[in-house]
Symmetry: C2
Subunit: 474 residues, 2 copies
């Protein structure tokens, strides 16, 4: 096995999960071959891809790499050739999966990773009769695959290590499930709640809406950022986890017999659930619900980004890798305006009409100034050493509007750079190279301890002077 | 029973839950008497109150009412007198709770609501031997009580209706559990996951951290905004909920026997969990974890606010009630500068040092302009009719810094108001009445269909001219 990445993936099966994988690979710059005999597959992929395009780029504060190329293959063999990552996302029937694996063993690169999205089968089951069992692992994602970071990895340890590199590069959170077990970890927990939820509905205690409201106005908010145990650690207070278990543990012995029994899925119960669900959510189409869900997820994950916590910390790490390190070098080399920002407008920067709020133009220019500072050596390390530039004035002129999902970039010019003073001019453009907004920004160098103006370091002053002299000639 | 609210509450028991209630009532403007024989009670309340002060005001975009008065009572009788809402948050022992209820029946107003925070007992159990059983209900909150909206209400229907009014006014989400059941709804679902989690740890499948990561990088993100059933409705696609059950339902019959068995909480298992939890979270103190959790929750709930969904929709509704309707009237009456913004700075507006990001000053001024527009009749209805003012220029001068949690207000002046043109001057002050930032803002009236400048309606033009003439004299 090798960790070299040729960025060619193949996806077998274009259902919701398969199409989700296709979208994430493509948007992260991989070429993807898909094979699915369903004649509707191209349309289904396009629908999921539209959702992903609406959501994934807005998770990040830097532009994603160029999207890869999508090929709808005529046969499984055509799809597989040259792929280093093969997603198996076919229906959950073991005999069918075995048939696919036999075909794959004949044509796939022996170093390729065959990653099954199965939620129901263990690697040992998938690997039955395989000539190269280590090649087959479980990589179980969660819907929507283009947004939810978690992937449960189960299988051969070396293969899992290699698989982690790939999933990391896709911005996902690969979790190695060290012992194989029915349903892995996530679905066991979900199954427990599902089972209890069915009883509550069956017995007329609660409706689907009431159960959902208990979750999303209650513990669901906690679980999006800490899980079960860290939350309970806090509940235990200074006395800690053992104290909490002492308090909560005895509940386990209460006579909640229903927890241990399985409700029968009669037609009556299924109709009851479906009817309640219609009443709860039927005023939205599935497409609308998907967009609502995705916009909520992007907004919440961006909120966690601001706290650098959980899924948000993951996004920040991807942002660091997205930021092209050559930009600064190129900027320094060329005696031209600096390209200081390149990104799309995220959903949480917009109003109900999807137009970017006026204050967010200011945020883009603030980011542009941070980049100029980095170029002259006033970077994070410089700030940590107790020195920085503070903005004292912004003069922003709005020329035309921007909407969520639109690509923008900023060109910046040093208008003045001497002593404590730094004056910048920023020009924001859209993807059609139309000027949409300008800013004249005046900054002062400050000592972060005294919070008063001060002279920059000699090195920063020198770099700034050079940039200023170059920009004066423009 | 009456729905009149005298805004006097009493809280019996000052543990994490009791102190959480105290904090929410106080910050929403209620006077609170607390009784807890623990000499440490005042310190414990103060600690939770500090957390709440750090978090709750930042959920909203308008200033909260003046905080109520906290009184640490010398006796249960002193605490209860005059209270219309009595929180019972004493230890989970039924005989002890019955003793408290007997004392309450002797001294409490017979129209007061006695709301037990119990997670373990049903109203029928609490009401045993009660002279006024309808007065005693379950109002089961979730930690942290000052942030998580959900309260499960169980008990007499009339009392529950009255209780809902009170909880609504606290910005909470009261959910009527229509049939009493052990552990209500939320804790049954939590218990199911807890039980399954214990098995996973007991059997060495996963650690506390791995389980938490599965939740917070996986389905926890989904559940913070939609619950179980709405999420699965989407997974079912256009075929809907019945289709999903058809797919997922059979899993119930898989041989996951562990789900139906109870792990024994041996010392060994408790040590294992506590040890894993130390390794996962031990580098943070409980106080730190509380702050991290609260800042995450506030940021995520504010993100949902931007989508007007779930917990975020609830926050927007509270904001509407927080906004003092007399402000506009007062502003119109007085020939003085307009007070257009009054709020605290939320955590998600700040950088890692808690200083407000420069772009958020722009957001405050944007909100100030929206308020001026409302005063001259260019309100939401006017915007809906296809007309509005667009900002074309902002000239912002930063004078000093603001930090998260700080109160600010803005005074606005009409510098010019004729024809299509509107020019405003905004001055932002902190709670010490120090000027922290100014903005000169130039707006143009636009036709929202053509997106081009146009004349305002006669009525708006007239109101604007009056305001302009008054402000010219200042």
């Amino acid at each position: 096995m090798t960790t070299t990445i040729n960025r060619k993936a193949c996806v077998l099966g274009a259902g919701v999960i398969g199409a989700g994988w296709v979208s994430r690979f493509l948007l992260m710059g991989w070429d993807v071959n898909v094979y699915d005999p369903d004649p509707e597959a191209p349309r289904k992929i396009q629908e999921v891809m539209n959702n992903a395009l609406n959501a994934l780029p807005g998770l990040y504060d830097h532009k994603l790499p160029e999207s890869g190329k999508l090929t709808i293959a005529e046969s499984l063999e055509d799809a597989v050739i040259g792929s280093e990552w093969i997603v198996e996302a076919v229906p959950e029937r073991l005999d069918f999966k075995h048939k696919i694996f036999r075909l794959l063993e004949a044509v796939a690169d022996e170093n390729a990773i065959i990653a099954s999205s199965t939620s129901g089968f263990k690697p040992s089951e998938l690997q039955q009769d395989s000539a190269r069992p280590k090649q087959i692992i479980v990589a179980h994602p969660f819907n929507p695959v283009y947004l939810i970071p978690l992937v449960e990895l189960v299988g051969d340890e070396d293969t899992v290590v290699n698989a982690k590199h790939v999933l990391d590069s896709l911005g996902m959170f690969p979790l190695h499930v060290r012992k194989e077990i029915d349903a892995h970890i996530g679905d066991r927990l979900l199954e427990a709640v599902w089972r209890e939820g069915l009883w509550l509905i069956n017995d007329g205690i609660a409706t689907t809406k009431e159960i959902d409201d208990v979750i999303r106005y209650g513990f669901g908010l906690r679980w999006a950022q800490m899980g079960l145990f860290e939350t309970y650690r806090i509940a235990g207070g200074e006395a800690g986890m053992a104290h909490f278990i002492g308090q909560f543990g005895p509940c386990l012995e209460w006579p909640w017999t229903k927890l241990m029994d399985v409700p029968e899925l009669t037609d009556e119960l299924v109709d009851k659930i479906a009817g309640q669900s219609d009443q709860q959510s039927g005023h939205h189409s599935i497409r609308e619900l998907e967009r609502i869900r995705d916009d909520n997820l992007v907004s919440m994950m961006r909120a966690l980004k601001g706290r650098n916590w959980g899924a948000g910390e993951l996004l920040n790490n991807v942002d660091k890798s997205l930021k092209q390190p050559q930009t600064q070098e190129e900027n320094k080399k060329n005696a031209s305006l600096l390209k200081t920002v390149e990104r799309v407008i995220p959903i949480n920067w917009t109003d109900y009409n999807n137009h970017m709020n006026e204050s967010r133009y200011g945020q883009v220019f603030s980011d542009a100034a941070t980049e100029v500072m980095a170029i002259i050596g006033a970077d994070q390390a410089y700030v940590d050493s107790g020195k920085s530039y503070f903005t004292v004035e912004n003069h922003i002129k709005y020329i035309s509007e921007c909407v969520a999902g639109e690509e923008i970039y900023v060109l910046s010019k040093v208008l003045l750079g001497e002593g404590k003073k730094l004056k910048l001019q920023h020009q924001m453009y859209n993807a059609k190279d139309e000027l949409v907004c300008t800013d004249e920004q005046f900054l002062l160098h400050v000592d972060l301890k005294t919070r008063k103006s001060s002279m920059p370091s000699d090195e920063v002053a020198k770099k700034l002077a050079y940039l200023f002299s170059q920009h004066q000639q423009l």
